[in-house]
Amino acid sequence: MAAILGGLPNSVLAFVYLVAGILFIQGLRDMTHPRTAPRGNLISAGGMALAVGITVLVTDILSPILLFAGLLVGAAVGVWLAVTVETTEMPQLVGLFNGFGGGASALVAGAELIDMFGTGAFQVGVTGSAAVAGIIGSVTFWGSMVAAGKLHGVVDDSAVRYTGEQAVKALFLVLAVLAGVHLVVRPNLFGSVPLAGWVPSYWLLVGAASILGVLLVMPIGGADMPVVIALLNSYSGLAAATTGFVLDNSVLIIAGTLVGASGLILTVIMCESMNRSLANVFFGGLGEVSDDDGEMEDIYEGNITTTSPEEVEMTLDVADRVVIVPGYGMAVAQAQHAVAELSELLDEQGVDVEFGIHPVAGRMPGHMNVLLAEADVPYEKLRDLEEINPTFSQTDVVLVIGANDVVNPSANTADSGPIAGMPVLNVGEARTVIVNKRSLSPGFSGVPNPLFAQDNTNMLFGDGKEMMQELVNTYKENH
């Protein structure tokens, strides 16, 4: 099938790509406010439809059935995944999509190299870009598959570490880079071994980078996933941008770079929220089982006050201001609807209710916000760390639901340790703190939490959803 718009001058195509690029930028600009964000998403989707549509129209399509079959299958799978996903499964779905984008970029770069081999000429700029796209794309694909697997519970989500780990990773990185060098300076590296039509050095690179992707994410534990997901998001964009260099395509470069920047900024925010460097998240050893159980029992011994939903209800009854601090435990227990109902009941009684959200609470950037939005909590009630921290001293009751490390006061005082210096929510400054947790087990960092032993802290042990539901029921009976 000849191209429908085959006679279209290249400058017109480039112009349409520019328009698509502008739509992507405007779409992201609208993401700066919840009110305009849905429109932004539509504008961005419009840019995508425009860019893909014009490409289909101007390309000489040799196998139209195959192409449209691919588009149909992809669209069907995409719709199915998007429609059937539960809000609690959102982190792994975003991870999965990241991987697909990166994987597609790696395949495109490879296919383009094979095509170029047919025509003879390889340019250094092109082969070099293809090598970068291949490495980033493969790492993104396999890294995302492991991350999504960990989040979905099909891959061990603890930090899997072994001796010689860094050396093994370095080995595969070197292998991938060497294959890339061979691709670029082909004739000279291994004597005069001729390059076969399927460009083997590229696929060697892809193989090494794939293993590297798996090895990089395997040692990272569940609670560090926000950083990993954000970084892989950045990579999927960079893979697209470098593929743009291979294909000499402006909109791929613009759009890919925007995503690369977005993911990188989120990554930096996540790291800063934990006071850790990116290198520490990837190569650090946080999440290893700590063996100082004895010390932990010491600080809790005799200092733990437990409470019941009925008592909590009475405490809430006399409160003027309540702050709810959710953590990953709320997501696991799927307690967000009960929590939202409680906040609405309090709101109706004239209590000032707000939510204090730590940037790394949950398994992806903004995880708690999405869960609470799903449960219909208005976004004006959600406050981030800087906004909420100064208000704790004027707060009557703080209700911590399934959060641990992000409310650990020892982060402010400890000189060393996994969470030293991490910005935390200073909930202990409130008059009364109620912590809902299943047990006293430490959070992901393995560090005991002195908050639980504080005089003004009451522990409400039990499943988040059940406890919140009982609290809601008790509250309703008495009002």
Partner: protein, 96 residues
């Protein structure tokens, strides 16, 4: 275009991205990520070109796989972002 012209685009886009994305509130970080993720499916354009005009069976097959993966990314990404953003509402809208 030359490599340097492409590099120019890359650098300018990086600055634009930085300026815009640092203004996005924490509230919207998940939709931002999934929306940006859908944008990274732009690689679909490249997939269409190689799947449609690949000169060898191998290139066409790889292109086909890339089209499927990139389309999942684009379609799924925008839909998920859309349904997520639908849930973000203010108290004014909720009382309607």
């Amino acid at each position: 275009m030359t490599f340097v012209q492409n590099l120019t685009l890359f650098v300018l886009a990086a600055f634009v991205g930085y300026e815009i994305i640092t203004k996005i509130p924490t509230n919207l970080h998940t939709p931002l990520m999934s929306g940006a993720n859908a944008i990274s499916g732009i690689t679909l354009i490249g997939s269409v070109v190689v799947a449609g005009s690949g000169s060898t069976t191998l290139a066409t097959t790889l292109g086909f796989l890339a089209v499927v993966m990139a389309t999942v990314n684009v379609v799924g990404g925008y839909l998920v972002t859309n349904s997520m953003l639908d849930q973000f509402r203010s108290s004014d809208r909720r009382r309607d």
